[in-house]
């Protein structure tokens, strides 16, 4: 039994924040230079009353409409999010009901960030191959902007909110290959929201200056950019080689690379270290920003629609980030 991606759609919230808007808030900031480096011109923001669950629902409804998929055919729902609607229950359970998916379907949330889409595909493939499910609805949705401090211009320029929906099935448009996964919890503190959950439920209101001179707020998302950069340059090139080996594919036989769209500067550096040709390496986060677990699905959808990815192609996809966590596989279109 093999597992396939059958359909992909995504949803971006209505509100768009331009670099000009950010510039008004931070007039001393050379926003053009930053935009050129990180590669983001506009990003979408979830409305104040719009949750990751709401966005995931919209992405799923788009998927159903675009591909004529019936909710009753879905027999498993999983949602990747680090901004769930509630501590409990799983937002995926609420989505089962809201989307009209049968009560015989399994459903759960899983908490991952930029590697989340890869892990979702790995688990979905497992469910299909084991005969546990036939049509897995994988949703990825994130509202990181709600975790960002208003003064955190770096992360506000990079991250955009968004959601993606993907149906994994017994047949479809791309066969899901073998996976390479990895984890290093030793780097947990380098990308973290410290308060609000069980370890420190009450906000502390505290902030300090980090190693790089950035203000670090306990109650908001913190990213140690340098540490994450070093981790990425260590983990991703090694993973790329492992993905090739595990799938028995030569580098020359990969037609296109869709890596997690972290930011343009990081992607360019990874591309150079991995010695990958520019024309085979996807970089496009201009109008979305880094949407965390949704970047790979958004990119795949865009590439399919634009004809960049077509039948017969081998496409390597990878995700890497918060956890620290990483994963990759090859899709055979």
């Amino acid at each position: 039994m093999k597992a396939y991606i059958k359909a992909i759609s995504y949803y971006l919230p209505e509100r768009i924040v331009t670099n000009e808007e950010l510039l008004q808030e931070f007039p001393e900031w050379s926003v053009d230079k930053v935009a050129a480096k990180v590669g983001v011109n506009t990003r979408h923001l979830a409305a104040s009353d719009e949750t990751a669950g709401d966005m995931a629902e919209k992405a799923a409804r788009k998927l159903f409409a675009e591909y004529g998929i019936k909710a009753e055919d879905v027999d498993f729902v999983m949602l990747c999010t680090q901004s769930p609607d509630y501590f409990l229950p799983s937002t995926a359970c609420i989505l089962q009901h809201r989307l009209g998916i049968p009560t015989t379907a399994g459903a759960f949330d899983y908490n991952l960030g930029c590697s989340g889409c890869i892990y979702g595909l790995a688990v979905a493939k497992g469910l299909i191959v084991a005969g546990i499910a036939k049509n897995v609805l994988m949703l990825t949705a994130e509202t990181y902007n709600k975790y960002l401090h208003p003064s955190d211009k770096s992360n506000r320029s990079i991250f955009g909110d968004g959601a993606a929906a993907c149906l994994i099935s017994t047949e479809g448009i791309a066969e899901i290959g073998e996976f390479v996964l990895g984890t290093d919890g030793n780097g947990a503190e380098n990308l973290i929201v410290k308060t609000g959950a069980a370890r420190q439920k009450q906000p502390t209101g505290l902030s300090s200056i980090d190693d790089e001179g950035h203000e670090r707020f306990d109650d908001y998302l913190y990213m140690n950019g340098g540490a994450i950069f070093n981790f990425t340059l260590e983990a991703v090139p090694a993973m790329m080689k492992q993905v090739l080996e595990k799938n028995g594919v030569e580098k020359d036989n990969i037609d296109y690379y869709v890596f997690h769209q972290a930011n343009k500067f990081m992607l360019n550096t990874i591309r150079k270290v991995c010695v990958l040709p520019k024309d085979k390496f996807h970089i496009n986060l201009e109008n979305t920003g880094n949407t965390v677990s949704s970047t790979v699905m958004i990119a795949l959808k865009d590439c399919i629609e634009e004809g960049i990815i077509s039948a017969g192609m081998n496409v390597m996809i990878t995700g890497f980030g918060v956890g620290l966590s990483w994963g990759g596989t090859i899709l055979k279109f």
């Binding site: 790089e212 950069f229 340059l233 550096t269």
Partner: protein
């Protein structure tokens, strides 16, 4: 690892600063163009050129290019 090589590669991480402005004794954090993004570029350059990890904190702890070179060379 050679100082002169390091300096010229270091200078390449800047977009608007002329390479001639960057010497062994240049206090790089005082350059107009210096920012956390340049620091990120230095981290990437050290990792890719020498396969060594330098942290943002270490980059901030050095004053001159030569000091940073010595720190990287000692790793």
């Amino acid at each position: 690892m050679e100082l002169q090589e390091f300096i010229s590669a270091f200078a390449e991480q800047f977009d608007d600063t002329d390479a001639s402005e960057i010497q062994a004794d240049t206090n790089y954090q005082e350059l107009d163009e210096w920012s956390s993004l340049t620091s990120m570029a230095i981290i990437a350059f050290v990792k890719t050129a020498y396969n060594k990890e330098v942290t943002g904190k270490e980059i901030r702890s050095c004053e001159t290019v030569e000091e940073l070179y010595n720190l990287v060379a000692s790793k």
